[in-house]
């Protein structure tokens, strides 16, 4: 699985939520795109990831 251009091993039963937790991001405003499609925050816990997935994980940062 590709996350922000980095290879990540897929854990068994991995969901968007468990991946974010594993990356230490559960508390923040993680914004997720899966294979080019935005993922609704309410579905983070139910979407199971696949090895071929390409994820973009973004967040709010300072900006004008």
């Amino acid at each position: 699985m590709d996350v922000n251009g980095r290879k990540e091993e897929l854990a068994p039963g991995e969901t968007v939520a468990t991946l974010l937790a594993r990356l230490g991001l559960e508390a923040g405003w993680a914004l997720v795109e899966r294979n080019g499609e935005p993922v609704e925050r309410a579905r983070y816990a139910e979407i199971e990831l696949e090895d071929a997935d390409r994820l973009v994980v973004a967040r709010p940062v300072a900006g004008g």
């Binding site: 996350v3 922000n4 980095r6 990356l23 230490g24 991001l25 508390a27 923040g28 405003w29 993680a30 914004l31 997720v32 795109e33 935005p38 993922v39 609704e40 925050r41 973009v56 994980v57 973004a58 967040r59 709010p60 940062v61 300072a62 900006g63 004008g64």
Partner: protein, 253 residues
């Protein structure tokens, strides 16, 4: 006098919008936000660097302040739409400061791509606040496709040069049926006051506050300037005219 700013049906007491970029620390940014009295702050959206994730900016912002995600970094309409949808899906507000900037030198927005993205985002249910060169025709077209505001620049982003394009902004103010937010290039509180005196509905300030020697004090100064300019607009600023004495001509001793 009731003088609330209404954008897309939502009312704001403050007419000063703040950008959150360029502060030395998030603590200073937070204190400047509070001192400014703003109720709308812009944020950007970027990929997380897992090696240096940094702190969560939203935890430093007052809860009653509306977060306005921007589409900075986007050079095309498609990129801007993608960024806005990512932010909304992740739980950020469905409001977006639309900026499409292909020009890295002068940081000027692309009017064609901005209009295209605005139409798509409005169609998709977003409240769209587009950042534009002060082109009155473009402003009208953006209003026609359903934008909630128009946000003409005073001068290029971060330049602090003030109202270099005031005559065009004046036309937009005259014609607009949606709030006009003067965004970018304001370097001093006097620039903000002049924008408001001209009849702009609000201003958006970032660099002039964030890079001031004392950002918190400067945030307060911009707050006062916006209030002064707005009050002056309602009071009716005099027209320029030939010199006339303020004291009686006769009876001098």
């Amino acid at each position: 006098m009731d003088d609330t700013l209404t954008i897309a049906g939502r009312e704001f007491d403050s007419r000063l919008l703040l950008g959150t970029g360029k502060y030395d620390t998030f603590e200073t940014m937070r204190d400047a936000v509070v001192a400014s009295g703003t109720q709308i702050v812009t944020i950007a959206v970027r990929r997380i660097d897992f090696d240096a994730p940094g702190e969560d900016i939203t935890s430093f912002l007052p809860e009653d302040v509306l977060l306005l995600p921007n589409t900075s970094g986007c050079e095309t309409a498609d990129e801007a739409v993608r960024s806005a949808k990512l932010a909304r899906a992740g739980g950020l507000p469905d409001w977006v400061k639309l900026e499409v900037i292909p020009d890295a030198r002068y940081l000027l927005p692309d009017p064609v791509e901005t209009l295209r993205a605005a139409a798509a985002l409005v169609e998709d249910g977003f409240t769209v606040l587009p950042y534009i060169l002060p082109d009155p025709v473009l402003a009208q077209k953006l209003e026609e496709v359903g934008c909630a505001t128009v946000m003409p620049l005073a001068a290029p982003i971060g330049s602090g040069r003030g109202l270099k394009l005031r005559d065009s902004i004046r036309i937009i103010v005259e014609q607009a049926g949606v709030p006009v937010v003067v965004d970018a290039g304001l370097g001093a509180p006097s620039h903000a006051a002049e924008s408001m005196e001209m009849g702009a509905d609000a201003v958006l300030v970032n660099t002039a506050i964030a890079r001031a020697e004392d950002p918190i004090a400067m945030a307060g100064a911009f707050r006062l300037a916006v209030e002064a300019g707005r009050t002056a607009f309602h009071a009716g600023v005099m027209e320029e005219q030939a010199p006339t004495p303020s004291s009686p001509i006769g009876g001098t001793v």
